[in-house]
């Protein structure tokens, strides 16, 4: 190990020499690695943001119990306490007929004029049931709803169940897609780096043969190429991170702020993302090059 460190400047120099002499391939590799890692990073950003967004939506998820107009206050209390008794409920908020109308006006926006002159209390009052985080599963919701639906004074129930169902499906799909694509991208990078090292080895095959003939060991021959692979991968990671940040701050953010009606903010990955990309790039570089060099040297032996 100590000797390895001692020889490190030599190995590093050799790797740089290789990259410089094979700069066309190295450039191609780094570019392709960069592109792959950009996609990888973009996916990561998308996943993080989608998770956030979905968390948000879930947070907003609620069941609304519309009450009959002629409900008695006993019935109201009975409903409220029955709901609050359920473990999955965090709190219950009442929405009076007036509040409901106000909300409706807001939703109608410029067309709210159509409601002018209507009776104030034509919308029913309701309880909004806010569920405890972690209890917002379909099973919980459905059992709660079944219990409440039959109580006296309940007009009807409204919930975002279909939406929740779709959301859960979408989450599964997105997760699956992200993992699959990430794995494919990783394989791609591995393949590309392995290929580059294979090319370098091919270009250096005479050198390697000569080195063997004058008594250099496999380790001595192998290390510069592995260093080269790690360097290429790490460079790809750095470039990918830089590109993503550039894309985000120079392009995405301005455009998005133009369209930011949704109040939906995409966060870039921060330095975690940088570490992740460089780490993934370097690791793939290491694995790709080490495997190729070892295979090559093993083949030479035969």
């Amino acid at each position: 190990m100590n000797r390895w460190l001692q020889s490190f400047p030599y190995f590093f120099g050799e790797a740089l020499l290789d990259i410089r002499e094979n700069r066309a391939v190295a450039a191609l590799t780094i570019v392709t690695t960069t592109i792959s890692l950009i996609f990888f990073g973009a996916l990561w950003i998308v996943q993080v943001n989608v998770s956030d967004l979905i968390g948000n939506w879930r947070e907003r998820f609620q069941v609304e119990v519309f009450l009959k107009n002629k409900i008695t206050s006993t019935e109201k209390e009975a409903i409220k306490s029955a709901v609050l008794r359920s473990e999955s409920v965090e709190r219950v908020a009442e929405r009076t007929s007036d509040e409901a109308l106000k909300k409706f006006r807001e939703q109608l926006g410029p067309n709210a004029g159509v409601l002018d002159g209507l009776g104030e209390a034509f919308l029913p009052s309701s309880y909004r049931i806010i569920l405890r985080p972690g209890w917002r599963t379909m099973a919980n919701i459905e059992s709660l709803m079944a219990r409440v639906r039959v109580m006296p004074g309940v007009e009807r129930l409204r919930n975002d169940l279909t939406w929740l169902r779709r959301l859960e499906g979408a989450i599964q799909l997105i997760r699956l897609a992200v993992w699959t694509i990430s794995a494919l991208l990783g394989l791609g990078v591995l393949f590309i780096i392995a290929n580059t090292i294979r090319l370098t080895l091919f270009a250096r095959r005479d050198d390697i043969a000569i080195m063997h003939l004058v008594g250099a060991t496999d380790g001595f021959i192998r290390t510069p190429y592995i260093t080269e692979g790690v360097l290429c991968g790490a460079c790809g990671g750095i470039a990918a991170y830089a590109s993503l940040m550039l894309l985000y701050y120079a392009f995405f953010l301005p455009v998005l702020s133009g369209f930011s009606a949704e109040g939906f903010i995409v966060r870039p990955g921060g330095w975690h993302l940088g570490v992740l990309l460089v780490g993934v790039g370097a690791s793939l570089g290491f694995v790709g090059s080490a495997a190729t060099v070892s295979h090559y040297l093993r083949k030479q032996r035969e």
Binding site: M211, V214, G215, T217
Partner: protein, 246 residues
């Protein structure tokens, strides 16, 4: 020239060096060696050959007789199909890869086609051999200068091989074979691109190295070189040893 003293010279070579003290053992011993390349006839047949420590031997014979093949068996670039090859008492076919690498550090080879690294200068081509066996950068530099002076190429040290004349390239190959001060020197047609005067100078260096206990094996066509040195000559013809001259 002294026996190998590099810090990284490993078991095989060290044993070889140690065994030099007991010259009863042969440096090279081939016992009924046969060799053929894939899909070909036998290039070497029934080769029996012994070269003692400190000997100087010529191998000669017509083009295609198998001289290069015979030499390549000695440093393990090719493996005999039948028979045994012992170098410094070690059976070369039995060596593990790492052991073979270490054995080769004790063998200097001048290849018929030079085998210089095209993307390294003359200096680096030679220094690299020293680095590979673990000699420090400073010590390597000193030794490379010395050996380049020996073949009159000191001023060409920073040129790439492609900028050298044929004979100059050949001398670089010779310098590289000498730089590690190997107990065994193998040279394949080392004077093919040299004029007679230069050829004799190189032979003088070989004789000097030989005097300092290095075993020397030279394959050549050049009768005047053989006459100039006047040592034992082995003649190969169609893969077989024909006669052993004085």
């Amino acid at each position: 020239m002294q026996t190998p003293s590099s810090p990284r010279t490993k078991p095989a070579a060290r044993r070889a060096a140690a065994a030099e003290a007991a010259p009863s053992q042969d440096m090279i011993r081939l016992a009924n060696v046969w060799k053929r390349y894939e899909h070909g006839r036998f290039v070497l047949q029934t080769i029996d050959l012994q070269v003692g420590r400190g000997e100087f031997v010529f191998i000669t014979g017509p083009s295609g007789a198998g001289k290069t093949t015979l030499l390549s068996l000695l440093y393990g670039a090719e493996i005999a199909d039948r028979g045994q090859v012992f170098i410094a008492g070690r059976n070369i076919t039995r060596l593990r890869r790492k052991e073979l690498s270490h054995l080769r550090r004790g063998i200097g080879v001048v290849f018929q086609d030079f085998k210089l690294l095209p993307r390294r200068t003359v200096f680096e081509n030679i220094a690299f051999c020293q680095r590979a066996i673990g000699v420090s950068a400073r010590e390597a530099r000193r030794r490379v200068y010395a050996v380049l002076k020996l073949v009159s190429l000191a001023e060409k040290r920073d040129l790439y091989p492609r900028f050298l004349s044929g004979g100059e390239q050949q001398r670089v190959a010779i310098a590289r074979a000498l730089v590690n001060r190997p107990p065994l020197l193998i040279a394949d047609e080392p004077t093919g691109n040299l004029d007679p005067e230069m050829a004799n100078e190189v032979m003088d260096v070989f004789k000097e190295v030989n005097r300092l206990a290095t075993t020397v094996v030279v394959a050549t066509h050049d009768r005047s070189v053989i006459e100039y040195v006047g040592s034992r000559t082995v003649r190969l013809e169609f893969g077989q040893i024909m006669k052993v001259g004085a």
